[in-house]
């Protein structure tokens, strides 16, 4: 169980994130959904450890084997294969593992291409390959398909599903797309202006939202 308690982050009097409590069960797939600026990225960054909240604690985080993919992940200008290998921490088998991961996300033909020549969507797939190249306990992904085309999105989603089932990895991802949330998540956490407005099983929150704000957000989306 991963528990976030009393997480508060302010910037010049404005509340960026205010989470009194959020508990997450290991192995489950969670989706953070909400408008731009609702705090999705901030919550992910705090959980990943790249941003420190003003107050609050996170308990139950796996000490290692946390993987985090930021928005617009950086691709170094060496080969795509090497870009993935660097996530494998000097494992003697890293080359094979990297190639296998690239294969899963449909990027094997890019193995020798230079990282800086990739499109946004290709870079996101490569970044995912980095994370799934070895087993992990927790994956944090910030809008992992924001730059991909339909095929790329498909590949990423199926890879994540497979990975989650194969090694029981907890998955927390953010998205703008309720459809993606429905496809990929077991539970949905709805954020607005830094606060959790609603949370629950994906089918419930997305199809029959309780809160007014959630309803407004989802009204443009036709099922």
């Amino acid at each position: 169980m991963i528990t976030l308690k009393n997480i508060l982050l302010k910037y010049a009097q404005r509340v960026i994130l205010d989470i009194p409590e959020l508990s997450l069960i290991e192995g489950r797939r969670y989706c953070l959904i909400g408008e731009n600026g609702s705090g999705k990225t901030t919550l992910l960054r705090i959980t990943a450890g790249t941003l420190k909240p003003d107050t609050g604690t996170i308990q139950g985080l796996p000490t290692e084997q946390v993987g985090y993919m930021p928005q617009a992940p950086y691709a170094f200008s060496f080969s795509v294969k090497k870009n993935v290998e660097i996530a494998l921490d000097d494992d003697p088998n890293c080359e094979a593992l990297a190639l296998a991961a690239l294969s899963k996300v449909g990027m094997i033909s890019f193995a020798q291409s230079r990282g800086n020549k990739l499109s946004g969507g290709e870079a996101q797939r490569m970044a995912l390959a980095r994370l799934i190249a070895k087993p992990r306990k927790l994956l944090l992904l910030d809008e992992p398909t924001s730059s991909t085309d339909i095929r790329g999105m498909d590949l990423i989603e199926s890879t994540l599903l497979d990975y989650n089932q194969a090694c029981g990895c907890t998955l927390i991802f953010s998205t703008h797309s309720p459809a993606q949330a429905l496809r990929l998540a077991e539970e949905v956490v709805f954020l607005d202006q830094g606060r959790i407005i609603e949370r629950g099983p994906a089918t419930q929150v997305l199809i029959d939202p309780q809160s007014e704000i959630a309803r407004k957000f989802l009204r443009h989306w036709q099922m």
Binding site: R45, A48, G49, T50, E64, V66, G67, Y68, M69, P70, A72, P73, Y74, F76, S77, F78, I86, A87, D89, A127, R130, L131, L140
Partner: protein, 227 residues
Amino acid sequence: METIRQIFDLLFGVNPELRQIIWVTLRMSFFSTLISSVIGIPLGVLIGSNQFKGKRLLNRILSTLMGLPPVVAGLIVFLFLSRSGPLGTLKLLYSVTAMVIAQVVLITPIMTGLTANLISIKAPLIRETAAGIALTPLKRMLFTIYEVRVQLISTILVGFGRAIAEVGAVQMVGGNVQFKTRVMTTAIMMQTNMGHFEFAIALGIVLLLIAFLINSLVNRIQDRQIT
């Protein structure tokens, strides 16, 4: 006309003193640039990639040092190396080593500042990604340097250009001693003071050519980056 003939003779002839002066200049500039880069670039990467307390103050100090007048740097190093100074026993005054020391004082802040600026553009994104895959800080730094390697080369060339063109500090701590610490810039000053304009002009032409070469290289590199 006669003057131009003499200049040509000096440039393409076998004037050993001219060649020796150019050799000392290149040797000094090479070591100044090397040491300044070895200190300045990693320092610049550290400053550019990280947020820390007092960073603003450090940047302000860096800016001031970047604008340090060469004669002031020369004076400070001179006072340190002088007989009555703390490092007088090293007997380094009026040597190429002393000139390199003064130039390192001048050029390291420039290398640091330019590198930090260069890095700070890409650093936050690299940082975020690196944290996500648990990259060690050392590897992160090395990869960051790799990412800006081409611009770093042009930064190093800028440093070399400063070293080769500097005159105030090297005159003070080097003393412009014939056959020992006479470099192109101090030789030009001296020859002009003595009224020997042909020699000064010949040296000036060589210096201009080198500066032009460096500038073209820097421009070529920067153009390649844009395409």
